[in-house]
């Protein structure tokens, strides 16, 4: 079987792995690197449960071939906290009850971080469109949107 040696950073750590032909970056993260926080809900880029940042940009990792990660900086849900200090999004999701079953939560957190990294003061509509690629079947999105709004307020306070 053909395998490609891939070097990249994941959540700040230098890592390398062997990627079999046709393996997605999601599979590599989960199966080769043991980072199972990113979830597979569809495998076709429709649900967003596998959302990750590649060089700061939001991607569905199920749609990225693993060798495409060569040299990239990757952030997954496991990497958005600062050590044992939760990211404001993680804290507001907890306090705002923005998760029920929790399967979509990693993807939403990463997608929301991607939004707030580039737009610190989004409108409700901007948040809704920025998260439209992430499916949640439990919450009806209400508490997710409110938690992102609250995290944005907190992050702006910190930035002052």
């Amino acid at each position: 079987m053909n395998r490609t040696h891939v070097n990249c950073t994941v959540n700040g750590d230098d890592v390398d792995f062997l990627a079999a032909d046709g393996i997605s970056l999601l599979d590599a993260l989960r199966d080769e690197l043991g980072l199972t926080g990113s979830k597979e809900g569809c495998g076709t880029g429709d649900c967003g449960a596998c959302s990750i940042l590649i060089d700061g940009k939001l991607n569905c990792s199920c749609l990225v071939l693993a060798p495409e990660a060569e040299g990239a900086e990757i952030v997954t849900v496991e990497g958005i906290a600062d050590g044992d200090h939760l990211h404001p999004l993680q804290q507001t999701f907890l306090e705002g009850a923005a998760l029920q079953c929790g399967i979509c939560t990693p993807g939403f957190l990463v997608a929301a971080k991607a939004l707030l990294d580039t737009n610190p003061d989004p409108t409700e509509t901007e948040i809704r469109y920025a998260l439209a690629g992430n499916l949640c079947r439990c919450t009806g999105y209400d508490k997710i949107i409110r938690s992102v709004q609250e995290a944005a307020v907190q992050l702006r306070e910190v930035a002052k």
Binding site: A20, G22, R30, L35, T36, G37, S38, K39, E40, G41, C42, G43, T44, D46, C47, A49, T76, V77, E78, A81, L86, Q90, F93, L94, E95, G96, A97, L99, Q100, C101, G102, I103, C104, T105, P106, L109, T125, I127, R128, Y129, L131, A132, G133, N134, L135, C136, R137, C138, T139, G140, Y141, D142, K143, I144, I145, R146
Partner: protein, 740 residues
């Protein structure tokens, strides 16, 4: 906003702590079934039927078995024939076809290999020869004279049946004199409604890992709403005693009823037994759509009679539910769900109809949304024709305690009137309808169920407590268990660790379904806590040399007059000297489940050029009995509402002529996304259920019942069109607009 009847004062119940399992879920550490791997594990892949109905002539697995990495192959021949009379027979045949495939996507074989890719290659090398049989997909075709038989093992229930039939159940309910009532009515409205099959749409595909050991015992880790049912069904399909199967529930990524049954666990267990290695199965999204339970499509004819002042005098309904290829009681449950209004004269005829489609499964308030869409639409049309406010019309006819349901049972204390009043008084309903928009109202309810639950509570030596139940937590129930235990024991909720244990570590517990967990499992937790408190009072009495009758439990301490309170922590620290560990278990079969009513109010605008409907504002009011953790009660109301909005506006199984699903992906089966929706406002009404120590009714089911009619009623007022078919997607609305 919370409307409460005589609110009791609680310390913990009704507060909003961070849920105990939340930290692992926001950091990616929570372990769902697909996240689990065992040493030496194989991956399994299915072969599925390309025909909707066919006889299996032969299956040749020789080439597949010879391929690299392949360790085991199963077909129907590897599972026992339970006989059609066995209650698990349908499940066993659905799990793996025997001599007949009944729907496109029906499992025919499975291969376990050292990788998923090798398993897929081998599955593709299995040769199945079929002889196609005639198939039917719709209620009309299945009920037609001379229709081809869907499933030769189906005999109609609830009536005398000598021959197999496409009808699974027939239900007839009648009270009063319907014909006389219609003749006397000032106004009669009659319409026919149809709804498409919809999928529960949980984001986590079904997944399991099963390790069948050399001792013949299988350990199962899986995503399920009820691991005790996984245990019993898996054992039955394998022809094993229940005790050979141990099931550990993983975190579950959504279920909504769709994970109350099994699909993959016996297949993984048999493959593991044959290969001597653990086997993991993870369904693809395509398989989830094609081969797991949609909710039935339906056809419902409703006729309602009314007086000019808005009294609803008679209801006649004909209801049919398309339940797929195996028997199901959807029709009976649909008839049971007609109980919101007094209707002195009533006649119901309900059918569960088989077709060559996947075996339908429960979906949030099963069967009720279909009936409510029809009845609430007609009731609203009567309000429009009589020019009566839709809430006032419903208040005039709303069922109250003592009114009998369609089944003839009197309602217990219910909160339908309170929900209607809460919406009427809400800021939303009091505010003017936005320009260019219209407002719809509809109601709904679900009975809720009790069933069996067990709980064990340990008071630990450091003064904390562990609460162990057998109810998989699909929406925050662990937090509810901890809150009720905190209230009972007088402990901080964060000093309590709530867990869901495997089938061998906690007493038998029925599935998480029917809004029963916070109700029934909560009762077991409360009972175990009260038994522990009695034990702690007794120990404190001995220590203080007083009669136990003089010791009460208050604020987390044993209190006897003339003595300092003895706090739980000190009783716990002394437990070795006072009788040993502090632990109690309670098991019960809960009676007195409380029906939960809901009333929804939605504002929307219809784009006359495209037929697109935009929901602008939405409020859901529902009777929770008591909200143990209000945030998660709100979450149930919001989630149910949005599932209903998706059902109303977009979601449907689109079938090709051969019965295959044309839209088996989240791209083509489009569930609501964030940009489709406004905030979902909630009003928690609290009319306590007298049968529960904290008044809990359970809230999960009902939220999905009112949205379809809420939206249809608003569209009617917005555009002057009465939509009678779901989904009310842009093409269908546009057609209706053009025919207006």
């Amino acid at each position: 906003m919370t409307a409460t009847e005589n609110p009791p004062t609680y310390t913990w119940v009704g507060t909003r702590p961070i849920r105990h399992d939340g930290y692992d879920k926001v950091t990616g550490k929570a372990r769902f079934a697909a996240d689990l791997d065992l040493p030496g594990q194989l991956r399994a892949v299915y072969v599925r039927s390309p025909h909707a109905h066919a006889r299996i002539v032969s299956i040749n697995t020789a080439a597949a078995e010879a391929m690299p990495g392949v360790k085991a192959v199963v077909t129907g021949a590897d599972f026992p024939d339970l006989g059609a009379a066995d209650p698990e027979y349908d499940v066993s045949v659905n799990v793996m076809a025997r001599d007949t495939v009944y729907y496109h996507g029906h499992a025919v074989a499975a291969v376990a290999a050292t990788s998923r890719e090798l398993a897929a290659d081998a599955a593709a090398a299995i040769v199945v020869e079929y002889e196609e049989l005639p198939a039917v997909f719709t209620i009309d075709d299945a009920m037609a004279d001379g229709a081809p038989l869907v499933n030769e093992t189906n005999f109609t229930k609830f009536v005398k049946a000598d021959e197999p039939s496409n009808l699974s159940t027939i239900t007839n309910l009648e009270r009063g004199e319907v014909d006389d009532a219609f003749a006397a009515a000032d106004l009669v409205v009659e319409r026919e409604f149809t709804t498409a099959a919809v999928h529960q749409g949980y984001i986590e595909p079904h997944a399991c890992v099963v390790d069948t050991g050399a001792d013949g015992r299988a350990s199962v880790w899986c995503s399920s709403q009820g691991h005790f049912r996984v245990r019993s069904s898996t054992a039955a399909v394998l022809g094993w005693d229940v005790s050979r199967v141990k099931v550990t529930p993983a975190e579950i990524g959504g279920g909504f009823g769709g994970k109350t049954t099994i699909y993959i666990e016996p297949v993984a267990a048999r493959l593991s037994e044959m290969a001597g290695r653990p086997v993991k199965i993870v369904m693809t999204r395509d398989e989830v759509f094609r081969a797991t339970g949609p909710a039935p499509a339906s056809k419902v004819r409703v006729k309602v009679g009314a007086t000019n002042d808005g009294e609803l005098t008679a209801l006649e309904a004909w209801m049919a539910y398309n339940v797929g290829a195996f028997g199901n009681v959807a029709g009976l449950v649909g008839a049971m769900s007609v109980a919101s209004y007094k209707f002195p004269n009533l006649k119901l005829e309900a059918y569960s109809v088989l077709s060559n489609l996947p075996k339908s499964a429960a979906y949030r308030s099963p069967s009720a949304p279909h009936a409510a869409f029809a009845i609430e639409s007609v009731v609203d049309e009567i309000a429009q024709k009589l020019d009566i406010d839709p809430i006032e019309l419903r208040l005039k006819n709303a069922a109250v305690e003592g009114d009998v349901t369609a089944m003839g049972m009197p309602h217990p204390r219910i909160g339908f009137v309170e929900c209607l009043e809460a919406v009427r008084e809400s800021e939303h309903y009091q505010s003017p309808v936005p320009d260019g928009a219209a407002r719809g109202i509809a109601a709904g309810f679900w009975f809720n169920i009790g069933e069996q639950s067990s709980a064990t509570v340990h008071v630990n030596e450091d003064g904390t407590a562990t609460v162990i139940t057998g109810s998989p937590d699909i929406g925050g129930s662990r937090a509810s268990m901890a809150l009720m235990a905190a209230e009972e024991l007088g402990l901080d909720v964060n000093s309590i660790t709530p867990l869901v244990a495997d089938t061998e570590s906690v007493g038998f517990t029925d599935t998480t379904e029917g809004s029963r967990t916070t109700f029934a499992t909560g009762m077991a937790v409360v009972q175990a806590c009260r038994d522990l408190i009695d034990d702690m009072r007794s120990r404190a009495a001995t220590t203080l040399s007083v009669d136990v009758g003089e010791v009460i439990w208050a604020d987390g301490a044993a209190v006897a007059e003339g003595h300092d309170p003895v706090p739980l922590a000190s009783i716990a620290a002394q437990s070795k000297r006072t009788g040993g560990p502090l632990t109690a278990s309670a098991s019960l079969n809960a009676a007195g489940a409380g029906p939960s009513f809901a009333v929804h109010c939605g504002d929307l605008a219809v784009d006359e050029e495209t037929g697109h409907t935009k929901v602008l504002r939405y409020t859901a009011a529902q009777d929770a009995g008591t909200a143990i953790h209000p945030s998660y009660v709100e979450g149930q109301l919001q989630g149910g509402s949005v599932q209903g909005i998706g059902w109303a506006l977009n979601e449907e199984y689109v079938l090709n002529d051969d019965g295959s699903l044309d839209n088996a992906s989240f791209l083509d089966y489009r569930i609501p996304v964030a940009s489709d929706l406004p905030m979902i406002e909630t009003i928690i009404v609290e009319v306590p259920n007298p049968s529960h120590p904290y008044g809990v009714r359970g809230v999960g089911e009902t939220g999905i019942v009112p949205p379809m009619a809420t939206i249809a009623n608003a569209i009617s007022r917005a555009a002057g069109i009465r939509m009678t078919a779901l989904p009310m997607s842009p093409p269908h609305v546009l057609t209706a607009l053009n025919e207006r």
